[in-house]
C-alpha cells in the first residue's frame, strides 16, 4: 500500500514537472494529519477541511484519515493566533482559509497577528462575486445602476451577507470607485447574516441590489426571480455565458472569494513541500476539477511561493480600500 502511494506521488509530481521537490516530499509523510476549520461544523471552512481530507485520502496522498478540528472565534482569529503561537512547528497541521481570513488580517481584526505569522500553502478555487437586482428592477445593466449610485448614493441600497468591511461590502465599493463616486463611504450597504438573508431582502423589495458570491445567487438566476447585472470575474462563467462581467461593461473590478489553506510557520521544509505538492496534485486532479465545476467554483490555483505572493497582494488591496472607507486608519 505504502509503496503504491509513493509511486503515485512520484508519478504525479513528474507530470506536474516538479522533480526537484519530489525528493523532499518523499522524506515526509504526515502521521496524524489534522485540518483546523476555524468555523463551526457545517460552515464554509469546515467544508474546505472535509473536502481536502476526503480527496487527499481517496487519491492516496495521505494514508490515514484527516482529522478535522473545529475552532471557532473571531472569524478565524482564534485559530490563527493558536496556530501561530501554540502549534508553530507542527508538521501535520493545515488550516482552512479564505478571503475572510485575509480581509480581517488586513483590517487588523486579529489583534497581535500579522500575515507573516503563518505559511500560506495554497489557494485552489474561487467563487466570483456578482451584483444582482430584482427581475423587474428599473436597472437593466451595471451602468444604469452605477449611474444612479453616482447621482445619488442613497438611492441604491446594496445588501450582502458579510459585515461592514467584509467582502460583500468591498465589492460595491470597488465598483463605486471605478464608477467615479467621489466619496465611496456614501455607497449604501446593509449587512445581513448570510447571502440567503440578503437575497430575501432583495426579493421583498427592502433593498435595490445584492452583492454576493455567485453560488448564493445561482438558484434565483435559474428561476428568473432576479437579474444578474454583473459578474465580477475576468471572463464570463462556464455554463452562464449569458451573464455579463463588470469588466466588459467598463468597470474593471474583480471579486474573487478564494479558498485555500495555510500551515504553521516553523513547520519543517519537508512538511511544507509535502503539503504544498499534495494539495497541488489534489487540485489538479480530474476528480477535484469536476467537484469544483459541480459546486460552481472556478479553479484559482496558487501554490507555495505563489500563494504567499497572492495573499500579500490580496491583503494590500483590501488594506487600501479599507483605509479609503475609514474602516482602518
Amino acid at each position: 500500500m505504502r509503496i503504491r502511494t509513493n509511486f503515485a506521488a512520484v508519478a504525479g509530481l513528474a507530470i506536474a514537472g516538479l522533480v526537484p521537490a519530489a525528493a523532499a516530499a518523499e522524506d515526509f509523510k504526515p502521521e496524524n494529519p489534522e485540518c483546523i476549520a476555524p468555523s463551526a461544523p457545517g460552515g464554509g471552512w469546515d467544508f474546505i477541511c472535509r473536502t481536502t481530507g476526503k480527496f487527499l485520502q481517496e487519491q492516496g496522498l495521505i494514508t490515514s484519515t484527516m482529522q478535522v478540528s473545529n475552532m471557532t472565534g473571531a472569524g478565524g482569529g482564534v485559530a490563527y493566533a493558536y496556530v501561530a503561537k501554540d502549534r508553530a512547528d507542527d508538521d501535520n497541521l493545515i488550516v482552512a482559509a479564505s478571503n475572510g481570513t485575509t480581509s480581517r488580517l488586513a483590517q487588523g481584526a486579529f489583534p497581535g497577528s500579522t500575515p507573516d505569522d503563518v505559511d500560506w500553502l495554497a489557494t485552489f478555487g474561487a467563487e466570483y462575486g456578482a451584483i444582482a437586482v430584482d427581475a423587474d428592477s428599473e436597472y437593466t445593466d451595471l451602468k444604469s445602476l452605477m449611474d444612479a449610485v453616482v447621482a445619488n448614493p442613497s438611492s441604491v441600497a446594496f445588501a450582502g451577507g458579510s459585515a461592514v468591511g467584509g467582502y460583500d461590502h468591498i465589492k460595491p465599493l470597488l465598483l463605486g470607485k471605478a464608477a467615479g463616486v467621489e466619496d465611496v463611504r456614501k455607497v449604501k450597504y446593509v449587512a445581513f447574516s448570510g447571502g440567503g438573508e440578503a437575497m430575501t431582502a432583495l426579493l421583498s423589495g427592502a433593498v435595490q441590489a445584492v452583492s454576493g458570491d455567485f453560488s448564493e445567487i445561482r438558484g434565483f438566476v435559474e428561476s428568473g426571480d432576479i437579474r444578474v447585472i454583473a459578474v465580477l470575474a475576468p471572463e464570463r462563467l462556464t455554463g452562464f455565458d449569458d451573464l455579463p462581467t463588470a469588466k466588459e461593461q467598463g468597470y474593471d473590478v474583480l471579486g474573487a472569494n478564494w479558498r485555500g489553506l495555510y500551515m504553521p510557520k516553523n513547520a519543517s521544509d519537508e512538511a511544507k513541500a509535502f503539503w504544498s505538492d499534495a494539495i497541488r496534485q489534489m487540485a489538479e486532479s480530474a476528480e477535484f476539477q469536476q467537484y469544483l465545476i459541480d459546486a460552481a467554483i472556478e479553479p484559482f490555483n496558487n501554490f507555495g511561493e505563489d500563494a504567499d505572493k497572492f495573499v500579500a497582494e490580496n491583503i494590500q488591496q483590501i488594506t487600501e480600500i479599507s483605509k479609503e472607507i475609514g474602516i482602518i486608519q
Binding site: 471557532t72 472565534g73 459585515a163 446593509v190 448570510g194 430575501t200 427592502a206
Partner: protein, 514 residues
Amino acid sequence: METLASLADGFIVAFTVQNLFLALLGCFLGTLMGALPGLGPANGVAILIPIAFSLGLGPTPSLILLTSVYYGAMYGGRISSILLNIPGDEPAMMTCLDGYPMAQQGKAGEALSLSGIASFVGAFFATWGLVLLAPQLVKVALLFGPAEYFVLFTLAFATLGGISSTNQAKSAFAAALGLAIAMIGVDTQTGVQRFTFGEMHLFDGIDFLIAIVGLFALSEVFIFLEHHRGGAAGKAGAMQIGSLMPDMATLKRCVPTMGRSTVIGFIAGVLPGAGASLGSFLSYSLEKQIVDRDGKTFGKGDPRGVVAPEVGNNAASGGALVPMLALGVPGSGTTAVLLAVLLSLNITPGPLLFTNNPDVVWGLIAALFIGNFMLLALNIPMVGLFTRVLLVPTRILMPVVAMISFVGIYGISGSTFDLTLMVGFGLLGWVLRKLDVPLVPVILGILLGNQMEVNLRRAMTISDGDWTALFASPLAIGLWIVAITGFVLPIILGRRIKSGIEAQRPHEAVSDGD
C-alpha cells in the same frame, strides 16, 4: 391532488429498509442529543454530517438521517427541561416554566407524555403545512423586511411580562441584562467592536448556548453544592414519578392550546430569522394571556404551559424548512447547517428545488412524516425510562450534569475560554436565582436582542435614518398594534384582577417559575 401524488412518490423513495433504519437511528440519536444540555439540534446535525458523508450516503438518505436528528432533538429538548429544570436546547427553555413544577408535583410522567404528544401534534401539522402551503408561505416570508422584523421582535419583548408573573421589575431587569450581553461582539453594521476589551474570543459575541448551559445547568449544580455543604440531604428520592399518561380530561383541555400554538409556531418557523425559540416563546405567552389571564396556574405546573411551547417549537421546526427549501434561506441555526449539507450534495435550494429535485424534496417530506411517527412511538414508551432519572440521587446526577455541560460546550467550539465563560454564567445564574430574578428573560434578551437591534439598524440604513420607516407598511402597523395591546392589556387587566385575588393568594415560593 398533484401534491398528494408527489407525496406518495416521496413515500416510495423513503420506504426502503436503509432509509427507515436511518430515520430510526436519527430519531434516537436526535432525542438523546436534544436531551443533553449543550447539544442542541444544530450541533446534533453538524456532528452527524461527517458520518453521513463517510457512509457514502446519497442526498436523500443523508437528508433523512439529518432531518430525523433535527426532529428528534426538538423532541428531546423537553426531557431535561421537565426532569431537571435544565433546557436541553434553547427552544425547550419555555418548557421548564411549567414542566419542572409538574415534575415537582409528582407529575413528571404525565408532563413527558403530554409534551411528547404535543411535539407530535406540532410537528405533524407543521409538516402538512409544509406540504400544502410552502409556495404561498414563501410570499408571507417576503412581506417581512427589516422594519417588520424589528416590530416582530419588539412584540416578543412587549409580551415578556406575561411569562413571569412574580415581579415585573425583575423580569425587566433580566431582559435588560440579556440585551446588554447581546451587545458584546463586533457590530456588523459598522464593523466596530463593542465590549470585547480586545479579547479575541468575544469578537463573535457570546454564543447563547454557553449562556443557557451556564445559567441553567451550572447554576443548578452550584445551588446543589451550596445546600450540600449546608448539610441538607438533597432531594434524592423525594420526587414521585406518578402516572405515566395524562387522563383524557387533561388531554381534552389541551386541544385548543395545541391548535393555537401550532399556528403561531409554524408561522414563527416560516419567518427566517425568527425561528423555534420565538415560536415556543410566543405560543407560551399568548396561551397564558388567553387561558390564564389572572396568572393563577401558568408557571406552577399547568399542563397547557407544557403543551404550548412544545407544540410551538416543533411546529416551528417544520415551518423553518419552508424558507430553507423554497428560498435557500435558513430560518434557524439547524436549517443553516442543513442548507450547507444540501449545497455540498450539489443541490441548490431555492425556487427551483421543487421542480429540479422533486425526489429529494418529497422523499424528505415523507421521511419527516415517518420520523414523526417513529418519535412518538419511541418517546411514549420511554417515558417510564426517562423518569427514572429522577430516582438518581442528586449527588450523582449533579456531577453528571456538570460533566455533560463541559463536554457539550467544548464540543461546539473547542475553546477553553468558552468553558470559563460558561462557569461565569453559572455563577451569574446562581446569584440571579438567589435574588429571585427569572432567568428566561435573560436568555430571550441574548437570543432576540441581537436580531432586534440588527434589524432596526438595517431598517434605518435603508431609510437613511427616517424613523417613520418603522410604521410604513400595513403589516408593521398591525404588529405594532398587537405589541402595544400585549404590553398594555395585562397591566390594565392585571391591576383589576390583582386587587381581587391578592387576599386569597398564598405567599408562594417565587423561584419556582424560573
